[in-house]
Structure formats: C-alpha cells, structure tokens
Amino acid sequence: MTLNAKIPEGRLEDKWRNYQTQSRLINPANKKKLHVIVVGSGLSGAGAAATLAELGYDVQCFCYQDSARRAHSVAAQGGINAAKNYQHDGDSVWRMFYDTLKGGDFRSREANTYRLAELSAPLIDHFTQQGVPFAREYGGVLVNRSFGGVQVQRTFYARGQTGQQLLLAAYSQLYKMVRMKKVSLFTRHEMLDLVLVDGKAKGIIARDLVSGALKRFAADAVVLATGGYSRVFRLSTLAIGCNGSAIWKAHKRGAFFAAPSFTQIHPTALPQSSEAQSKLTLMSESLRNDGRIWVPKQTDDPRAANDIPEEERDYYLERRYPSFGNLAPRDIASRAAKERIDAGFGVGRLKNAVYLDFKHAIERFGINTIQDRYGNLFDMYKKITGIDAYREPMQISPAAHFSMGGLWVDYELMTTIPGLYAVGECNFSDHGANRLGANSLLQASVDGYFILPNTINNYLAAALNKEQVSTDHPAFKQVEVEVKQHIDRILAIQGTKTVDHFHRELGKVMWQECAMSRNRAGLERAIAQIKQIRADFWSDVKVTGHSDELNTELEKALRLADFIELGILMCTDALQREESCGAHFREEFQTPDGEAVRVDDLYAYVSAWEYDQGDFKLHKEVLDFEFVQPSVRSYK
C-alpha cells in the first residue's frame, strides 16, 4: 500500500484554499442525516464535535472523565501561537511555518505545517470571540510573549492557564450544542474498540465506566481525538487517565501508526522525588522567558543555590546556544539538562534536577512584574515543593510530555482506515520530530475547529443516501464479543502483581532506553524486556472487582495492556530510524560536541507502521521539500 497524503496542488499559500474549493459539499438539510462519533472532549474533540454539530451533523461525543471539562488540554499552561504579527517584530505566516518545520527538524509535511500557521490567526479571533480572557495591554489590545524555539513574540496567553481557558471555551461551546440537542455527550464512557464494516469505520464499542456495560455506537464516520500517549513512560506530565488505547485499537484494526517514537521530553517539569510518584508536574515553559537555567560548576556541590557565587554557576544553555540561550527548543534543553545531570552536576536531593533562577529577572523587572507574569506558577511550585521561588531558584527536571507521533493521517486528517479521522495530539501531522512550545493548543484547536469540519464532508458526501449501518450489524456483535473476551481474560488471570507494578516496570524501560537518548543496543534490549513484561502481565497481573461495575483497577489494566504493545512499537520505530532528529536522539548519530546528526538522504520520511498480527510492517511516506530547503537545525 502506498501512502497518499492527498496534498492539494498549488503554491503553499494556495493549497488549503484550493482544497476547500474542490472539496465536496453537503446540503445543510442532508447533514442532519449523517452521524459522526467523536471520541475525546479535549480541545480538538470538543472543538470538532461542537463545530460539526453547528454545521448540522448529528454528533455523539465521548469522554472517560466525569465531565468534558477535565480533558487534559486543560493543563497546558503557557500559551498558543499565532502569526498575527501584533508585536511588529517581523512575524508572518511563512516565518511561523518555517519555525514549526525547523523546530520539528524537517520531519513533517510542508503543506500541513503551513496550514497550521495559516489558520493560527483566525483561531485567535475565534477564541477571543468565545470569551477567552487573553492577557491584554492597558490600552485593551492583546499581549504576546515569546516561547522556546522562536525569536518573535507570537504567543497569546491567559495567565498560566491558557489551556484551561481554551478548553473551557470549547467545552462551553460543546454544551451549547448539547442544549440544542445536536450533540449527545457520553461522559464516563471509554472507547474500547473500533468497528469496521466493509473496511470503513462505522462505529465503536464503549464501556460505560459506571455500570461496566459494553455499548455499541454506530455512525458514518469516527473521529478520534484522544490525545497523547506519553503515559507509556508512566511518569509524565500527562493526566493519569490519558491513554493510547483508542488509537492503539484503531491501529490494530488497520490504521497506520506514524512516527511512534517521536515523543517530546519537556525540560521544565518538577523532578521525581520518590518511587511511588504517579506524575511529574509541569512548570510552564514560559518560565524560560525570564528564568535562567544553571547548574554548579563543580559536581555534587553541597552548597545551597543562593550560596553559590555567580562565577561558579554554569549557565549551560546560554554557554552552548548563545543566540537562543534559555529559549532553545525543548528537545535541546532537555537533552542538555540530562547531559549535565548524567555528568554529575545535578542538584536537589536526588541530584536529578537543574536550577531555574529568577534572581536576575526580579532584579531587572521587579517582583511585581514577575508575579504578574508567573504568579500562579510560583504559587503552584510552592504548594508542591514548599519552596518560595521568589527567594531561591526552582529545581526542574525533564519529563515525558508530548507525543508528536500518532495515527498517520493525510491532509484531510483521515487515517488509513476510510472514515476514521484523527485530530489533535493523537495524530501525526504537523510537528515532525519535535513540537514547538505553544503549538500544541494551536494544532488541537485548528484540527478540531477549522480543518476537520472542512474535510469530513468530502468523505461523508459519498456516504449520503447509502444504507446506514446499525448497531445490529454482525460486525458490532463480533467486536463486542472480542472486547468482552479481552476483559474477561484480564480478570481471570488473578496473578500476584498489581497493574501499577507492571506500569512502573514498563516506564523504567521506556525512560531508560526510549526517551531523551537512544541507541541500538538499548532499544533491542528494551524490546526484549517489554515483551517479557507483556508475558508477565498476561500471566501474573491481579485485578480485583468485576467487569459489571465501576472498577478503576480494570480501567488501568486495559490501558496498560495497550501501552505495553505500544511501547514495543515505539522502540521498534526508534530502532529503525538511524539518525538523530528533533526529539529522537540516537547516540550513534551525533557530532563530537554532542549535537544531533540528521540523515536526510535516508530518513526524510514519515515512518508509518502497519499492524500485522503482532508484528509491525514499515511503510514510508517520503517527505518532499518543495518550498524550503531542510537546513541543519542550529540554535547556537
């Protein structure tokens, strides 16, 4: 099978318009006859569900949480990028496109990335109109700040809660459509499998997490908006419930999985403090605007941070990357931190952190300005660590954060299964091998609000006036039986170890071998280890309770079973990519001074994996750079 990304003709600037001009339309009266399932209620899911409903489609939306407002988009702190050029600092759609492409180390499609930048400006208009309280100047215009990996100020923000404010806008809009009876919302429902009829996505099997009942839902198209899968590392900045199950089930039913190993390690999380830890809290990257990162120049320095004089501090990012300094992209900042920590310069009780210091910023701007910019982050830091960051530097450490990889989608955001779409973080589309800060909210929103509602009609137009599949179709029954067997199998094991035990084991292997730096031997070892974990899980896990009740342990087990398999694919993908690009750093491919070596001749493609009865078959979507010349990514 050859992958056809369906990139429209024309100049970069014209592609999206050309696409829209040629895409098929559906009469408003007919749209209400078409049913769409949206799995996930985050920024992309809620945005898509609300907008599709506004257009007239009949939408069913699902989330595993008690309310759509909990989706993890809520946790994005820093902001959302848009090429508005409000700051008059030379920004443009082209520059934003280029920054994003370069930030992703030239491993994404030009056309998709350009469209992301192109639709960023109207998105800010949209959210402003929806009542998002973006930060303002005294005169009433919107404010911007800068973010890692770029030299212009294009990030819009609502204090340190931008994700929350955007999500709540989307959630409210979703409820507007619920009130108008255009969206049926199923909270506390988790999709457990995808149903195909004649090779097309026609519905899902979901578990009612309260009653435990398995339910069938049919539709003319299915949209997955299920977010990232970095919980595969167990310790991550993600919500505990975030999982890869929906996309993994879709993958096993035929959707190709693209670039699974491209996962971003965020440089500014709080360090792990114990084995029992369940989550690493993110401190917004925006802190790097004013904070300076350093470690002591001597290893195992026993002194308190404030006792270490200026000349004995190593501001290693400023030293290594003078032009970007503390604003170097995430992958670079994370790797540089890991390098210092591994070399013995780490700070904190477990020597697993670096300092993020606001002393100079406070001296320069005054404590009030810093409070205004980051007050809630400083408060949060104090709540968790008990440390006042106005007086002494924060301790930060890298943590698994974002999945650039995900289901392979074409320009229309359709996966390789006809009628199955993936939007937001769960797809692989715009970020390449590394995502720039404040581009995540952007991509999720643009996918859900602007792109999908304009592309899905191209597919659904053909579905119109065809016989619609009902949940009585044998395919639904068969998948439901398979899901039930899968659940029963887990419950029947009654072994000796908890789900969390296996998750910790998986996380350790993944963090060790498939995180910030990777090598052949390690990845091969990891695959063997994960296979062992899989075997142990399926013979020795213990899950108490039943399937026909609210059972949080069973939910965790089902998610972990999929994570384990996904972990194998991630390592497999990292193994095949013999180059270093973006977040994917292969130790064998680096310059003598430790910078990544990208191999464009061999690896300028998107890896897209086909599931083949427990094995994975590699397909390649070659990336043609028609409009820009991939350059060596340098932030020096």
Partner: protein, 247 residues
C-alpha cells in the same frame, strides 16, 4: 510514615455506606495524598479486595476532577488547593485521616468517594457560552478590553469546577461556581448581548438542581483551589437583580 485511613465505602448509589479503617505504612512525606491512596489500593489488590474508588486525572490542580473531604475540610487541611496538591507532609506519623465524599443532594454518590457532579455541566449548558458559531469571529483586536476588565474576567474564569464550594458549603450552594462563570462572560463585551438571559437561565438551573441558598459563610472562597472571591456571588446577585428587572 504510618497512618490510619478512615474511608467512606459505598458500593452503589443506593447502597448504605460505612466508614472502613485501613492501616497504611511505608508512606513517605513526599508522597501526595492521592499517591498514598494509590499505595493503599495496591495493598488492597494484593489482599484480593476491591479497590477504593476515588477520582483524579491531571494531578496538578487544574482539571478539577479530584476532590474529597479530608479530616473535615474540602481538599484537606490547607486553603486554596486541590486534593491532588496535598502532600503527606501535611500529616503526622500515626495520624488518623478521615476521608469522605462530597456531601450534597445535587452531587449523588456514585461509588465510595466518587460523586456525580454533572449538575455543574447542566448549569454550564444553560448559557455559559457566547452563541457565536465557529468561523464568525471578527479580528481579535477589534474588540478592545481594558486590562483591568480582562484581569477580572480571568480571575473569575479560573474556576476548575471541582465542587469544593458546594462540598464545604453548609447549604450545598453552587453560587460560587455559577457566579464565577456568569461574571467571567458578562463582564466581557463579547458576553454582553446575552448577559441577562445567561444569568436567568444559569441561575434557574442552579435552582432546579437542588442546590441551597448562599449564606455568605465564606467557606467556599477559603476552600476554592482557584481562589475565586466570594465577591463574585454578590456581583452575580446584582446581575440577577438587573436581569430580573430588565431582562
């Protein structure tokens, strides 16, 4: 460290619940409160017992899904935090920690410590939005909003919907939650066209859901993780009065 958890267990909404005591050791001060419960649950699994059901998701204080009554306080002993932000260093070795679900008629218990807060969603449904379709927005800077107004809107918009206000309120009033959302939208120019209807509809739903009256005890603003000021309720009352008269 070692503590005794006294936890409300209730299998089903209609079932009769009861407190059950659990001795838990091997805890450390760095653990979060929820990690201590995780730890307990793992022990329960190994003993073949059903795990305690409690809610959480982001574990960084923003999603609003976690929330239990801990030793007589919503979200535990400290003001303005979520349950997930509470750490075991706030307790002493040997303490008994009483854990109860949110209690409110409008928040029926689902299981153990999990309650159903969908009443909040239904209040939102009644108008916590600006009725503008995707694609109809004017240029963002065409709407000028002074910093003071934007900041005040943001203060109100910070609500995370955890329900601590209802839980701690002796009357289970949802006034703080509802007021925060109304004031966020109604103070912005974008929210003005529907301002009166929004107040009337959202407060009507608040009434239908069976929440109590606001007595201004002020407990809600102390327990609110987002620090929403109780003055918001007074502001909502003013908006309500205006809407009743003019709407």
């Amino acid at each position: 460290m070692k503590v005794t958890f006294k936890i409300w267990r209730q299998d089903k909404p209609q079932a009769k619940g009861a407190f059950k005591e659990y001795q838990v050791d091997e805890l450390t001060e760095d653990m979060s409160f929820l990690e201590a419960l995780d730890h307990l649950n793992e022990r329960l699994v190994l003993r073949g017992e059903k795990v305690i059901a409690y809610e959480y998701d982001c574990r960084e204080g923003i999603c609003g899904q976690c929330g239990v009554f801990i030793n007589g306080r919503a979200h535990g002993p400290h003001p303005n935090i979520t349950t997930c932000q509470l750490h075991m260093r706030s307790f002493k070795d040997g303490d008994t920690i009483v854990v109860e679900p949110w209690r409110a008629n409008a928040f029926p218990i689902v299981k153990d410590l999990i309650v159903d807060r969908s009443a909040f969603d239904r209040i939102i449904e009644q108008g916590a939005y600006i009725s503008a379709k995707t694609g109809t927005a004017p240029e963002a800077n065409a709407i000028l909003i002074g910093k003071a107004i934007a900041d005040r809107a943001m203060d109100a918009a910070a609500c995370i919907g955890c329900g601590a206000c209802v839980a701690t309120c002796k009357n289970s009033s949802a006034a703080l939650f509802t007021a925060a959302k109304i004031n966020h939208l109604n103070s912005l120019p974008q929210g003005k066209p529907e301002a009166h209807q929004r107040v009337l509809d959202m407060t009507a739903q608040m009434e239908r859901e069976g929440f109590g009256h606001c007595s201004f005890t002020g407990a809600c603003e102390v327990e609110c993780p987002a620090g929403i000021s109780i003055a918001n309720i007074a502001e909502m009352n003013a908006r309500q009065g205006k809407a009743q008269l003019l709407g």
